[in-house]
């Protein structure tokens, strides 16, 4: 059958049936869980005497609240300790495989799924975290869900869902030096808006996406939800298959060849019908930085901040200026920073750390700037240390931490203080996001964060290549 998108194909093969509400009951091939959004879900199972329907398709780790410096148990934060214990108890009681703090596989849930080869093309995947869209980089339909939905997946390995429309976003041509996957997705969100993706799955394509490695594609898919799209994906190709080959949960030998053939078959057909198509040109994308309080409020590094009346939502822009304290019309270039954070499920993988280390090498973090690098997983940390990246960062004046979500959402001790301004490779610049109600976040690529750390202000990373 031709004319189908990857979304259509996976949706169809995972449909269990149509429910009395009209929703589709969709089978979920892989369920990833972590400490923050699951405890009440397991409580609900216990209250109702239910078990986990497919425990072998559920994997757990701890990432959100874990300290990235002192890891001794019990944690200094008693709430973090209690929540971690709750997860440890739940995975044991319900028979779920767990990559705990002492596991070499511990890390941010959206880093370890792909790293272990758990995430595979043609699957459906769910996780109680909005950045689950990351896994779409593999041609996976990956849904961020709430806690009651986590309960449903635990109890039935299915979700009641409504089918989305599909918007193809093609990024054509090529990117200039110093322009990264982060700049691509920030540009997409800026153009289509933070709610522009509502009701859509985003399919990313075009030569810029085709040339990206898997880690770059993950960065793009990761922030789909910041554009309002529940799902984002890239069609699987040779880059995908080579990334997966040899990973622990990926079939080997002849089974791998069978898998790769299946994965090829689920890519969107050449004549697939889309509900909407958007074309962008790679050459138009500059290093991009957010100036406001949502990821759509972004400008290219050479641009000036917009007047509220030039912006789609003038009241939203006014609220952003009120919080950030800038003046419309001023350049983003030269904006001072206090903190530099390289990490998060968006940008904490080897590609990201290499790009940042290239900028940091032989340079020093500006005096008075607090700078930290938090690898996305214990494995990323190990690989980075094998390459000597940790020494480059430490010599430059960065702190080199253990794996976790860290200052992306500041549920652990890594937080902004007062009105601090943070150059951050994370995904959200919401008010209070990095742990201080008055804190301010500038989202940018990891290389841009490194360059900002060296200068104590926002600079154009293209001058440091």
């Amino acid at each position: 059958m031709a004319e189908r998108t990857l979304y259509d194909k996976i949706w169809q093969s995972h449909t269990v049936g149509i429910l009395s509400t009209g929703q589709t009951q969709l089978f979920i091939g892989l369920h990833l869980i972590h400490e923050i959004t699951t405890a009440p879900a397991f409580d609900m199972l216990r209250e109702n005497g239910m078990d986990v329907a497919f425990p072998e398709r559920t994997f757990a780790t701890v990432d959100h609240i874990v300290p990235t410096d002192i890891r001794q148990r019990p944690f200094l934060d008693s709430e973090a300790e209690e929540l971690t214990k709750a997860l440890e108890k739940n995975v044991q009681q319900f028979g779920v495989e767990f990559f705990g703090l002492d596991s070499p596989n511990q890390g941010i849930v959206h880093v370890i799924g792909p790293q272990l080869g758990l995430t595979q093309p043609g699957m459906t995947l769910a996780c109680g975290d909005s950045h689950t869209s990351t896994h779409g980089a593999f041609g996976t339909l990956a849904f961020g869900i709430g806690t009651s939905q986590v309960r449903d997946v635990l109890a039935t390995q299915t979700l009641a869902m409504d089918k989305l429309k599909v918007r193809q976003i093609k990024v054509n041509g090529s990117l200039g030096t110093g322009v990264y996957a982060k700049d691509v997705i920030l540009s997409i969100i800026r153009r289509l808006g933070v709610s522009g993706g509502k009701g859509f799955a985003y399919e990313y394509g075009g030569s810029v996406i085709d040339r990206m490695n898997m880690e770059e594609r993950m960065t793009v898919c990761n922030m789909s939800i910041e554009g309002g799209a529940l799902v984002g994906y890239v069609n699987p190709d040779a880059t995908t298959f080579e990334f997966l080959r040899g990973r622990p949960y990926v079939p080997k030998g002849e089974a791998f060849e069978r898998a790769a053939n299946y994965w090829k078959s689920i890519a969107s057909d050449a004549d697939a019908k889309y509900d909407d198509v958007v074309n962008m040109e790679g050459k138009d994308i500059e290093p991009t930085v957010t100036w406001g309080i949502n990821p759509g409020q972004a400008v290219g590094i050479s641009e000036k901040l917009p007047r509220p009346d030039e912006y789609g939502d003038p009241d939203g822009a006014k609220k952003a200026y009120e919080h950030m304290g800038w003046q419309p019309g001023s350049p983003i270039l030269g904006t001072p920073i206090n903190v530099a954070f390289i990490g998060s499920c968006t940008n904490s993988r080897m590609t990201d750390l290499r790009a940042a280390a290239k900028i940091a090498k032989g340079r020093k973090v500006k005096a008075g700037i607090r700078a930290l690098v938090v690898p996305g997983s214990a494995e990323v940390k190990k690989l980075a240390e094998q390459e000597g990246l940790h020494n480059i960062f430490k010599e430059a004046g960065f702190e080199w931490r253990e794996a976790g979500c860290s200052m992306c959402l500041a549920m652990n001790p890594d937080k902004l203080n007062g009105r601090e301004i943070c150059a951050s490779s994370s995904n959200r610049n919401f008010i209070g996001r990095q742990g201080s109600p008055g804190g301010r976040t500038l989202l940018m690529s990891p290389a841009m964060v490194a360059a900002a750390a060296m200068n104590g202000k926002v600079v154009d990373v293209r001058e440091y290549q």
Binding site: V16, G228, L409
Partner: protein
């Protein structure tokens, strides 16, 4: 998961929180997600906008005695964007909000509301402005959000609302609490799973 609870109508006074793109970090700061249960979430909605660092109240609609007891919340566009944290609608619900009316909702937030039995219905910008002004001028106005017939009534006024048909059906039939409905099909679930090649690791 005992008896089905049908959500067909929510009546009561209302409160308005203005602004587009109000994210779930604003609705509930992440530090409260460290609690093991949802039990205390009702104390935290919009915490950092309602209280200063010393815990003193700041001006905010949810602190205003005029709106005390409100069960309907009026909001603008893309409410609940950002994180998937169900803690956000749980905080509003446990504070006393039983229905949310806005221009639009972020996808995960709307799904979370529905599965909790909290209708999140949409109206046009002009209509929500009218209701926001009405409640700001007369906080005692009683509104009825009729999920069954997709309308809101207050005084002599009647406004048509939008709500995806699947959500309307789930709420009004009582199957919004979806686990039992899904679990009834476990045999079919297993059949679907057995047809997926990755479920047996691509064995030949």
């Amino acid at each position: 998961m005992g008896e089905l609870v049908k959500v067909t109508k929510v009546s009561g006074t209302a409160v308005a929180i203005r602004g587009n793109d109000i994210d779930t970090d604003r609705i509930i700061p992440a530090r409260y997600l460290k609690e093991v249960t949802f039990a205390r979430m009702g104390s935290y909605p919009f915490f950092d906008e309602r209280f200063d660092a010393e815990g003193k109240q700041k001006p905010h609609p949810l602190n205003d005695v005029k709106y005390k007891g409100a069960s309907i919340l009026f909001v603008n566009k893309n409410f609940g964007c950002g994180s998937s944290r169900e803690h956000a609608p749980q905080a509003l619900y446990r504070f006393g909000i039983q229905a949310i009316v806005g221009e639009s909702f972020a996808a995960i937030f709307a799904g979370n509301c529905t599965i909790m039995g909290v209708p999140a219905v949409t109206v046009s910008h002009e209509q929500v402005e009218l209701m926001m002004k009405t409640v700001e001028q007369n906080p005692q106005t009683r509104f009825t959000v009729d999920i069954e017939n997709k309308k809101i009534t207050f005084g002599e006024t009647q406004i048509a609302t939008d709500l995806p048909e699947t959500y309307r059906s789930a709420l009004t039939s009582g199957s919004w609490d979806s686990t039992a409905m899904l679990r009834a099909n476990l045999d079919q679930v297993k059949k679907t799973a057995s047809r997926l090649p990755y479920m047996n690791r691509f064995a030949g």
